[in-house]
Structure formats: C-alpha cells, structure tokens
Symmetry: C2
Subunit: 181 residues, 2 copies
Amino acid sequence: MDILKTEALLRLCATLVFVLAACLDRFDTQTKFIIFLERKITFKDLKALQALVYAAFGAAGYNLLQLSRCIFFISCFHGNLSKRSYRYLAWVCYLLDQVVVYLTFATNSAAIEQSMLVVTGMKEFQWTKWCNKYTRFCFQIGGAIFCCYVACCLMAFTTFVSAFNLFRLYSPNKFLRVKNT
Amino acid sequence: MDILKTEALLRLCATLVFVLAACLDRFDTQTKFIIFLERKITFKDLKALQALVYAAFGAAGYNLLQLSRCIFFISCFHGNLSKRSYRYLAWVCYLLDQVVVYLTFATNSAAIEQSMLVVTGMKEFQWTKWCNKYTRFCFQIGGAIFCCYVACCLMAFTTFVSAFNLFRLYSPNKFLRVKNT
C-alpha cells in the first residue's frame, strides 16, 4: 500500500502546483502608457501562455481524477484488486500519464521559448523586446513557468511510479509475459 | 533476446532520423535581397534552431552508444549477464533515456514555437513575419522539426522498453523489492 500512498501524495502536490501555475498565468495583467496609447497586456497576447493555461488546468484536472482513484483504492480495496483488471488499469494509467507529461512539458518549453524572446527581443528580425516595459507582468509569468516546471518534474516521478506499477507485473525473462504469483 | 533486438532496431532508427534532422537544420541557408541589402539567413539566426542542432546530434550520439551496447550484448553475452550488474545497468539506461527524451522533446517544442512565430509574426508586439520572404528555408526547417518529432516518438518507445527492462526485475507485491527467479 505504500506505493499507492506515494502516488497519491505526488499527484496531490502536482495538482496544487499546476493550479497555482495556471492561476498565476491566467490572472496576470498589466496596463501601461506607451507614447500616447494606454496598452493592456494579458496572457492572451502570447499564444504559448494561453496554451500553458489550458495545459496546466487540464493536467491539474487529470491529476485530481487520478488522485481520487488512488484514494478510492486505498479506502475500498486495500490493494486487493483482481490481477487481471489491475493490469488493464495499470496500462491505462501508464499511457495516460505519458501523454499528459509529454504534452505539459512541450507546452511549458514553448512558453519558456516565447517568453525568452519577449525578454531578449531579436535584432536580426527587428523584433523588439517588451519586458523592460512590462516588468511586473514578466516576473509573474516567470513564476508561472517555474511552477509549471516543478509540476512537470512531479509528474515525471509519477510516471516513474506508474511504470513501476505496470511492468513489475511482467516476467523478468520473457517479453510481455505475465508473471504468476 | 527478442527484446534486445527490438531495442537495437528502435535505437538504430532513432539515430538515423536524428542525424537527418540535424543535417536538414544545420545546412539550411538562404540568401535574398531585401530592399537594398543582401541578407543571408541560417540556422544561427534562431536560437531555438541552433539548440535543436546540438540536441539532435547529441541524441543521435547517445543512441549510437546505446546501440553498440545492444549489439555487444547480443553478440557476446546472449543475455546471460549476472542479475545484479544487469539491474544497475537497467537503472542507468532507464534514467539516461528519460533525460535524453525529455531534453530533445523540450528543444523540439521550443523550435516549433519559435518557427511558428517566424511563420505568423505577432501583430501585438509589432513583430513582422519572415517566412513569406524565406520560403525554401522555412520548408526545410519544417522538415527538420518533423524528423525530430518522429525521432522523439521513437525515443519514447525506447524508454518504454527500458522501463520494461528495469521494472520487470522487481517484485509485483512489495515496493522496490527485487524478485528471486
């Protein structure tokens, strides 16, 4: 049962950090006068940040579902599921975990990349930098990306646990042959 | 032994596709007259593309090393390694695979994101698009990113195999307890 509790804890942390990241990103806004115009900047101005909000909320929801599954198993079955149905479930969890961790990781990398462009600008393409004008906005986005990165690391540990849960059911000598225990 | 051959095949394909992606990216260049100046564009103009070249060559090298390990095992040991040393090796392979697949995936996502900006531009920030001027260059970069994406999928399958190789050595009932077989 220790492994279920470890998984539940990891998923709880991941959910909280993803929600924090999504909120930091979603509610980040700053208004400034530039020359004659008042300009408001929000997360919607950068497509990667918009994608990050959706990805973080999605990943938080997924982890919440998985967390409730863990709690259900701990409280009801005490780990005594039939081997067969357990194996199918382990496969589903493993594959879903992989998909979610790769998607959130990709979205986060894209957001980092786009944010770096906003921070540094790009001379060759005559793209000007914007972060010297919207400093507070940029720091908050930085915080959101950092949180999302932490959450991705937590998810990576979770996939480690779910891979362990799945593959320990198989024979150590034959490929994809189930063990009899 | 089937599993070793599967792994070797996956790693061979991943190596080839990574090398193809890196070369497509590295040797992509286009020169054009813009207004009065002749401007040459290469992979060095976009930092994400530069990172992609290094990441793809690095990943190809890593897969080549792992491939030679697979071939060495197939030809010399016929899979008869001592359980203890095999377990340590399985851990090393699993962890290295995870690091490499996440790094290449992140670099590729960043490159996609930056390339999309070059294709679409960004009105809000007065960033102009450039792909209407350097069409051939952009198509070749698109090909490189596609190849890198295929290679990442191959690497994801490889990590699946290395996770299987590692965790099947463990007991199905106790957490991180080695099986006796």
